[in-house]
């Protein structure tokens, strides 16, 4: 559940928090483009990853970010191992000192780092943007309100779900369920008594919420008004322009082969 910690908004008053969600989206988009479409090797990936850190420090969410990354590390390790084994499989298993071995190793490492870089960028976005502001940004970007609301509600219920998962696990352990018992398949099956109550109660809750919302006239008028509107300030524009400029410069340098792939 740790990986979700990076998705909860942490209320603080820093420049990162005050930035318009749309400006921060520009930043996340830039990192996404650079890490997926522009670069493919380990070294630039490490640099991209490191470039996220100062923003986390500025937003005073570094500790949260680290715990998210720790949560994501497991998955990153999986990505690395599967990539690496896959590549070794293709070239035939070679000795660790040969150049082919390194050729299989480095791109696999890059894949795992790419994953961590993306997690870090998205995590900073969610850590410093309140779900309400995010929804508002989506609406002002002309996404239908229903969709924006669905998204924020999903975010809102992640902590609830995490807490509930803990209670369910406790309840089943109290009836003698041992998660670590048995072989591989049995271990997966051990999770059924935890997943079923979670899913069922989520459906129940969704229905209750829908009823409660409709009884408060949700969707009664086509055009709804909003109490708060987001303003794209000069600082937001500057931040976005800097992000785009740096990204464009990097892409230009890359295309003219000044930078490695």
């Amino acid at each position: 559940m740790r990986v979700f910690e990076g998705l909860y908004y942490v209320k603080r008053n820093t420049a990162m928090h005050r930035l318009d969600p749309r400006a921060k989206l520009v930043y996340v988009l830039c990192i996404t483009i650079l890490s997926t479409a522009v670069f493919h090797t380990a070294l630039p990936m490490i640099l991209l990853f490191i470039s996220v850190i100062p923003l986390a420090v500025e937003g005073r969410v570094l500790r949260r970010l680290l715990s998210t990354l720790r949560g994501g590390a497991m998955l990153a390790a999986f990505i690395f191992i599967f990539n690496f084994i896959g590549r070794l499989w293709n070239i035939g298993f070679v000795s660790p000192s040969s150049p082919e071995f390194l050729e299989a190793l480095m791109p696999s490492l890059a894949m795992a780092l790419r994953f961590l870089t993306l997690i870090a960028a998205f995590s900073i976005f969610f850590l410093t943007t309140s779900p309400d502001d995010f929804a508002q940004a989506l609406v002002q970007m002309r996404l239908p309100y229903d969709y924006a609301l669905t998204f924020t509600m999903a975010m809102r219920f992640i902590p609830t779900l995490a807490r509930e998962a803990q209670i369910v696990a406790d309840a089943q352990k109290s009836r003698g369920l041992e998660l670590e018992k048995g072989g591989f398949m049995q271990r997966i099956r051990n999770y059924i008594p935890i997943l079923v109550p979670l899913i069922v109660s989520s459906f129940r809750r969704a229905e209750t919420i829908a009823d409660a919302m409709e009884s408060r006239a949700f969707g009664a008028s086509k055009r709804r008004s909003f109490l708060y509107m987001l303003k794209f300030k000069l600082s937001d524009a500057l931040f976005s322009i800097i992000c785009i400029a740096i990204t464009a410069a990097i892409i230009w340098l890359r295309l003219s082969s000044f930078l490695p792939p």
């Binding site: 209670i167 369910v168 406790d170 009836r175 008594p193 109550p197």
Partner: protein, 272 residues
């Protein structure tokens, strides 16, 4: 049976939720744990089968230190019935749901069948045997959850808020079942803020407030202590409340429904 020695507990990144709890629940004890919302009742009982381990202090269950034993081995002795049945129901039929714990504890097939049938009959659930537990009413789901723990006959039974969502008849039925367990030599701990239920049925109480024990002893004595109840945000049972009101009017009837009625009739006869 259960011995808690100076238990302190905090969740990560929180203040202490339990602050120096010490208590003993003897074998065959029948004890209520009362307290306001957030007093730490559920946190406390989760220590009884090792789901939570003390930050400081010690919890001994049947002489076993909970820190040194797995939840599964402690759960065999201490059955914990959670507040919300929807947090545990998962099987396709009521039968399978109740059999879950028995299978976990490796009871032989025949014994599983015998015990499940017996407990379903006892809790009037036998007609739902092959139904999905999800289609039952809240009160029935609560009884299925209870059955799924009762079936393996743990030495200690801990129930978290068993009376919520139960009508009067079901509450009385529950009280009967619990009393029968105590008579059979089991230890029963009930966590609740249903003061009436406790006053009517459970002889010994522990009152918890803000993570500390504020009173323990005979239920009726505790529940007639006006200052203690006010401090711990508990509401006295109706009978006690009436007795207090009457005593302010200068009447001191015997502490029972009949006594109160008698005193009121007498007062009416005497006139104002």
């Amino acid at each position: 049976m259960i011995e808690v020695q100076d238990l302190w507990f905090k969740y990560p990144e929180s203040d202490y939720v339990l602050k120096g709890i010490s208590l003993k629940v003897p074998r065959r004890g029948y004890v209520a744990i009362l307290g306001e919302n957030g007093a730490g009742k559920t946190t406390l009982v989760k220590h009884f089968n090792g789901l939570l381990k003390p930050t400081r202090g010690k919890v001994l269950v049947c002489g076993l230190d909970t820190r040194e034993h797995s939840v599964a081995s402690l759960a065999r002795r201490v059955g914990l019935v959670f507040q919300n049945p929807d947090h545990q129901l998962f099987a396709n039929t009521v039968y399978e749901e109740v059999a879950f714990a028995l299978k976990n504890f490796s009871f032989p097939e025949k014994e599983v069948k015998r015990r499940v049938e017996a407990i379903l009959a006892e809790l009037e659930l036998d007609r739902y045997r092959d139904r999905s537990p999800f289609l039952l009413s809240m009160g029935e789901r609560k009884r299925v959850a209870l059955a799924s723990v009762l079936c393996y006959e743990p030495d200690v039974l801990v129930l978290d808020e068993p009376t919520t969502g139960q009508d009067h008849k079901q509450k009385e039925k529950l009280a009967e079942i619990l009393q029968r367990l105590v008579d059979k030599g089991k230890t029963v701990v009930v966590v609740t803020h249903d003061v009436e239920f406790v006053a009517d049925h459970i002889p010994i109480s522990i009152i918890l407030s803000r993570g500390q024990i504020r009173g323990q002893g005979k239920t009726l004595e505790l529940l007639s202590n006006e200052d203690l109840l006010a401090e711990t945000f508990l509401f006295p049972p109706q009978l006690t409340a009436i007795l207090w009101k009457l005593s302010k009017l200068g009447l001191h009837p015997a502490p029972s429904m009949e006594g109160v009625v008698e005193a009121m009739l007498q007062a009416r006869r005497q006139g104002p």
